[in-house]
């Protein structure tokens, strides 16, 4: 085969490949376009079907929501039925907490036990009745944190609470709002400190609660790295003879006398169709408010920014005139404001 022929064959193949590349790009364009067109035609058909469904729904005294569901008016469940369900949830939580405690006792290391004991004793010493009645440590974890070029070993403590008939799992944890439950020690003093704990050279009785000035100094030092511990911690103490601290953030709710029936019937005064979905709180504000206002520790409110919320919507059987009810756990006041019944409407353009 001479040279010209070889060039001819190669050129032919390349030419065909270029033509094929055009054909492929047209194919992609065509497929994409066809898909879009069939989707569009499908949604147009869907709109017509939607109109028929809406008419059928309206004829049966229902409300056809933007999400395509036909909602009917429902008579609210009796309070005791709601609370029975709530009781089951609480029972599940209690089981979960019990299992967590069991697991913690199984896997906790000697060092973690020493740190946890100090944290527990400190908390119990300051709030005797409260700690014994409500607090259940469920986890402890150690991590290194660098604060202004100094490395600290931090034992984060996570706890669950029991308040009357309410259980909350891991409310004091290190990922969420209540993350200021910890024992921190400078890394190079860690072993010495744990040794001192082991030999009872340091006990919770020796810990001295910080005053406002010391708290402010700690805030300057640990801000950022220990997630504003000085703002949030209810109980805060420096470690005597060591560079470190113990912090306790109390769960801001004492619901001992609040029963489910009481809460639900109060919320229903706003709207009988509201759906009770539990307790809500704004913990961060709680701590900051206390520190900023310089309120002494014994006056710390335990119910600040804690509320029970419930709202009615199509799914709770309310087809019009829906409300959001909020019961303030501090003042016991109930607020009631109108809201949109069709929540799905917000997401449909």
């Amino acid at each position: 085969m001479n040279r010209n022929k070889i060039i001819g064959v190669i050129s032919y193949v390349v030419g065909i490949l270029i033509i094929l590349s055009f054909l492929v790009s047209w194919g992609i364009l065509g497929v994409k376009g066809w898909d879009a067109l069939t989707d569009y035609l499908g949604s147009a058909r869907g709109k017509v079907e939607g109109k028929i469904e809406a008419a059928v729904c309206a004829a049966s005294n229902g409300f056809f929501a933007a999400d395509g569901t036909c909602y009917k008016a429902i008579t609210p469940e009796p309070v005791n039925a709601v609370c029975q369900e709530w009781g089951k949830t609480m029972k599940d939580r209690k089981n979960k907490i019990d299992k967590s405690v069991e697991y913690l006792n199984k896997v906790i290391t000697v060092d973690q036990r020493l740190a946890l004991d100090l944290w527990e004793d400190f908390f119990a010493r300051e709030d005797q009745g409260y700690y014994a009645q409500h607090i259940m440590p469920v986890w402890i974890e150690e991590e290194s944190v660098t604060v202004q070029d100094t490395v600290y070993q931090v034992f984060h403590v996570s706890y669950s609470v029991k308040m009357g008939e309410w259980y909350y799992h891991e409310v004091g944890n290190f990922n969420g709002d209540t993350d200021s439950n910890l024992v921190a020690i400078r890394k190079d003093q860690r072993d010495l400190f744990l040794e001192a704990l082991k030999n009872k050279k340091i006990t919770a009785d020796q810990l001295k609660l910080v005053n406002d000035k010391e708290r402010f100094e700690m805030k300057k030092k640990f801000f950022d790295q220990l997630t504003d511990v000085a703002d949030e911690a209810h109980l805060l103490a420096a470690l005597p003879g060591f560079d470190g601290l113990v912090a306790v953030q109390r769960y801001p709710f004492t619901g001992d006398s609040l029963t489910c029936a009481k809460v639900v019937s109060t919320l229903r005064q706003c709207d009988p169709n509201v759906k009770f979905d539990g307790l809500h709180y704004g913990l961060l504000d709680y701590g900051i408010n206390q520190v900023m206002q310089g309120i002494p520790k014994q006056n710390y409110s335990l119910t600040d920014n804690v509320w029970f919320a419930a709202s009615s919507d199509l799914s709770t059987g309310r087809l019009s005139d829906c409300h959001e009810a909020v019961l303030d756990a501090t003042s016991g006041q109930l607020s009631c404001r109108p809201v949109e019944c069709d929540q799905s409407d917000w997401y449909v353009f």
């Binding site: 040279r3 010209n4 022929k5 060039i7 001819g8 064959v9 050129s11 032919y12 390349v14 030419g15 065909i16 270029i18 033509i19 055009f22 790009s25 047209w26 364009l29 994409k32 376009g33 898909d35 879009a36 067109l37 989707d39 569009y40």
Partner: protein, 173 residues
Amino acid sequence: MFFLQLLIPVANAFTETSAQPMVESFGFAPYDPFDNLMRLWFWAVLLIIAPIVCFFVAKSQAKKMAVDVAFSAMRQFFRLLVKLLVATFLCSFLFIVVDRLVDFFHNSRSLAIDLYDLKYFVGRFYIIFSTGCFSAGAALLLYVRKNARIFLIAIPLILIFVAMVIFAFINSL
């Protein structure tokens, strides 16, 4: 109008801005389906109309060259180049006319062309011209078997497209 309504979702499928408002230099502008329709129209000219026209323009010239053993490669190249320039200019003109008319009727913009428009149209023309050349190059390559010298004309045409791709790539960095 019905046809346009059918085309809008097709146009949207080719752009990222289908469901969101477009961000323009002066802030947020409401989403306009006609913007995507115009993009689709450009794609049609760029990838379908101009390449097909240029393919057949080049093919008819290659047929003649294939039987002419002693043609001047330089002369034939420039002749073809002028034909391709005219053909792609007409395609670009078609694109521009539709684009301007939509702007005029739909966006109530003036038909006057300012410097910004001119730069936009020249840019569009160059891109359309390069895909036209690529397609013409492919047409010529099919005739190299009959006359190897056609290769000398096909290569620069394909290189015009390659240059455009490299330029676009550098520009996107």
